[in-house]
Each structure stands twice: as C-alpha cells, then as structure tokens.
C-alpha cells in the first residue's frame, strides 16, 4: 500500500515533467514523419515505418529513462523532500521500489502513446494494424525499465552527469556485448579475454531484448524468445533494485 502511494506520487510528479513531455511529443512527431520518409523508399514504406517507429520508441524511451530516472532520487535529495519521506513509517526499500514503479507506469504510458502513433501510421499505409510488432514493443519496454534500473543505481552512487554517462555506457556495452562474446570465442588464447568475459557477464546483453528486426521482417525467432527475454530483463531489474536499496539504506539523511 505504501509502495503504491509512493508509485502514484512519482507517476503524478513525472508526467508533469516538461522535458519528458517534449521528448514524447518529438518521438510521436518522428513516428508520424516516417510516413513521409517511407514514401521515398520504393515499395518499402511499411517496413520503413515499422523500423522508424520501433527505433524511435526505443531511443526516446531511453532518453526519458535517463533524464527522469537520474533526477528521480537526486531531486528528492536536493529539494530535501527525502527527509520528510524518510521520517514517515516507510522502509527505505519501499521508497526505492515505489519510485521505480511510479516511473515504470509513466514509461508504460509513454510506450502506449508511441505505439498508438505507430499503429496509426501502420493503419494508414497497410490498412491494418500489425499486432505482430507487440513482442518487440514489450521487450523495448523491458529494455527501458532495465536502463531506468541502472540510472537509479548510478544516481544513488554519484552525480547526475556521471550517472547519465555511466547509464549511456551501459546501453552501448549492452548492445555490443554479443560482439565481446564472439571475440572471446574467436580468440580464446588472448591474455585479456578474462576481462572481456567479465564485462560480458556483468553488463546486460541488451540484444536479448531486441526483436525489432525479427518482427518487422517476420523472421524466425529463437523459441520462447519473448518469455526468456522477459525473465532475463525482470531478473536483472530485481538485482539492480536490490543493489540500489542496499546503497540507499546506507545513506545518512540525518
């Protein structure tokens, strides 16, 4: 109940954020603009619209996750509202989880709005809505939530600027970690491969949550790709929240 109150409060707070509203409007505008861009692609309009729509959802979702996720805790500390919250009968982990859930609801609303824009574009071009895109959208949402988890973790450790940089680095490594694994397999005798392996196992492999190309082109997917992707993402998020809570518990608000 206390978590829910915290989440609701965070949701109300974040939807009033102008940066988020601007990014969201820009993303929706870009998705609709893909109708024009797709027109230049010779018979490939539907593919271009879907690619643009899903990528815009992912990129702008990521931007919102970083900008809002990092400010989430730091704002409470800067405005000293955390003292008021901490003085109430609420556990520290409930604050972290409540805040996270609140932002998760905001991001869900964003993803739904962007999906509606994409569905609208799809309807105009193909005269139907492609529900086959849903698994990719679901995993994009999980990816955004994972990035929020990192943003929250870093923001409880360091300054906003560094948190943003670290979160971006995680995003980049997360999409390249498959190449690290391939490199280690190709050259197993290289001296530093233990280091690459370590990075591979610590950072999330965000390509596990990337079904964009597979759904757009109706390609064969690994069996249970969505279920495994969901479990992978949720498992990672729980670990991140546990770490954030552990750090947050040690903070002294007196």
């Amino acid at each position: 109940m206390r978590i829910w109150a915290m989440a609701l409060n965070t949701f109300k707070e974040t939807i009033r954020n102008r940066v988020m509203v601007n990014i969201l409007l820009f993303a929706i505008g870009l998705i609709l603009l893909s109708l024009v861009i797709g027109d230049w692609s010779i018979y490939q309009q539907a593919k271009v619209i879907k690619d643009f729509g899903l990528s815009a959802m992912s990129i702008f979702g990521l931007l919102i996750a970083i900008f809002i996720g990092i400010r989430l805790m730091i704002q409470e500390l800067e405005q000293r509202t955390i003292y008021v919250i901490a003085s109430k009968p609420i556990n520290r982990w409930e604050i972290v989880v409540g805040k996270y859930l609140g932002l998760a609801i905001t991001l869900a609303a964003n993803v739904i709005l962007m999906s509606l824009a994409l569905a609208g574009s799809n309807l105009i071009i193909e005269s139907r809505i492609d529900f086959g895109l849903a698994p990719a959208i679901l995993l994009i949402y999980v990816e955004i939530l994972l990035i929020v988890g990192f943003a929250l973790l870093f923001s409880s450790l360091t300054s906003p600027t560094l948190s943003a940089i670290f979160t971006m680095v995680i995003f980049v490594i997360g999409h390249l970690s498959g190449f690290l694994r391939d490199y280690v397999q190709l050259y197993p005798d290289r001296g530093f491969h233990w280091f690459l392996k370590l990075i591979y196992y610590i950072t999330p492999n965000l390509e596990n949550l990337n079904l964009k190309m597979a759904v757009v082109e109706n390609l064969d997917r690994p069996p249970h790709a969505v279920i495994y992707g969901l479990l992978y993402g949720v498992g990672y998020i729980i670990i991140l929240l546990l770490l954030t809570t552990a750090i947050f518990r040690r903070k002294d608000f007196k």
Partner: protein
C-alpha cells in the same frame, strides 16, 4: 538585420551548391564497411539500413531520373555528345593520353554512362544488405533494375548471390539469377538450373514454371527436368510446391 539575412542566404546557397556537386560526383562511399556498421548501429540495424537505402534511392533518382545527371546537363548546354561518348567507350577505362577532351567533359561522359552508379550504389547496397540481410528489395533493385542502367553483370550477380545465401527459401533470387544468365549471358543451361531451384521454393509464381517448361523443351532437356521435378515432388511435404510441380509435370 537585412545584412544578416543576405549573409545567411548567400552562405546557404554556397553550401547547397557544394552539396549538389558532391551529390553527383563520382565519389567512393566514405562509410565504414557493412560489418563495422553492423556493430556501430548497435540495436538499430534496421533503422540504419533503411536510412542508407533511402540515401541510395535518392542518389539514384537524382543521378538517373532528374536533371542532376551531369551528362544530361552538359549535353543540354553543349549539344549532342554522341561522338565524344563513342570515343570514351572505346577508350574505357579512361586514361590520360587517350582522349583529347577537357577534364570536365571527360568526367561528365564517365558519369553519363552510369558508371558512377556502379561506384556508388553497389557499395551502398552491399552495406544495406549486410546490415539487414533479409531486406529483399535492395537485392532485386541492384540485381535487376540497376543492371539495366549500368550493365555491370558481375556486380548484379554478386548482390543476388549474397541475397540467395542469406535467404535460401526465397524464389526471387534463383529466378533473377537465371534471368541474368539468360538475358545477359545467353546461358540457357544455367538458366534452366536456376529456374528448377526457383520452382521448388514457396510462393514461386506460375509463370516461372511455364518459363522452365519452355526452356527445358528448347534445350531438349525435358526428361532431365522431369526427373528432377519428380524427385522434388517426392521429397517435399509442402502442399503448394507439390501442387505446382504436379501441374508442371502434367504440362511436360
């Protein structure tokens, strides 16, 4: 204020002019290779390949269709260029001492024969298809439509072969590879083999089967083709392929 408006306008025109020249120039593709682009684009390979594809289409449109074609522009200003073009064709590849024409005209003639397309568009299409190997249309565009402009059979076949390897279930690739063998190389035996491969794939239209029957008869290889198709009908459980091959065997 008016001064600044003039400055902005002038610089914009200058930059636009520069862009136009660059656009029609016979420049190589200053982009990393497809494999590098693959990891550089991270989780957005589809988006990047779409973007490069659109760039390719725009380049093609401007170079071939529009008045940006330097050959078209030059001939409008200086009259018919047929004689010079003939000389260029004989002297290809363009060597310094071979042609007694100015550098601008030499460049224009080189571009005018669509060779610029080969230098720019095929490397671009290679990148597009490396990023997204299942993006079918760029293969067909490069392998069929562009071939008609450039006449570069090797580049077209390489692209279609690449598509065939990445999409072995698609009928389009063996069909168009067979079409090139027929139309550009006059090799009907090879066409026959490719068409056999095409009809054994799902979604292959009926006219391919009719073409196969005609070519097999022409080559006197009806029995061989029949034997191949009979083997195929026994090894497939796909009802669509089964039905198509049944009709073909009846026709034969």
């Amino acid at each position: 204020m008016s001064m600044m408006v003039i400055v902005v306008n002038k610089t914009r025109s200058a930059l636009d002019r520069y862009r136009e020249i660059r656009f029609v120039d016979n420049r190589p593709v200053f982009l990393p290779k497809g494999k590098t682009l693959k990891w550089m684009s991270m989780g957005y390979r589809g988006l990047v390949s779409d973007w490069l594809w659109i760039q390719t289409v725009i380049y093609y449109g401007r170079r071939v269709m529009d008045e940006d074609n330097p050959y078209f522009k030059y001939s409008e200003e200086h009259g018919n260029l047929d004689k010079e073009m003939e000389a260029v064709e004989k002297a290809y590849p363009l060597e310094e001492p071979l042609l007694n024409i100015n550098e601008e005209l030499r460049h224009v003639l080189y571009q005018g024969k669509s060779r610029g397309l080969v230098n720019y568009i095929y490397p671009m299409l290679d990148r597009v298809t490396t990023l997204d190997p299942h993006f079918i249309f760029p293969y067909i565009f490069g392998g069929v439509y562009l071939l008609m402009d450039t006449g570069d059979i090797g580049a077209a076949q390489r692209l279609l072969d690449k598509g065939y390897k990445a999409n072995p279930d698609r009928w389009e690739f063996p069909f168009y590879l067979g079409w090139i063998e027929w139309m550009y190389k006059g090799n009907l035996q090879s066409t026959n083999q490719y068409l056999l491969e095409a009809v054994s794939r799902e979604g292959c239209p009926d006219y391919v089967g009719r073409l196969l029957t005609g070519i097999s008869m022409n080559l006197g290889r009806t029995e061989l083709t029949r034997a191949y198709l009979e083997g195929l009908i026994g090894s497939t459980d796909n009802p669509e392929i089964h039905e198509r091959i049944g009709i073909l065997l009846e026709q034969m």
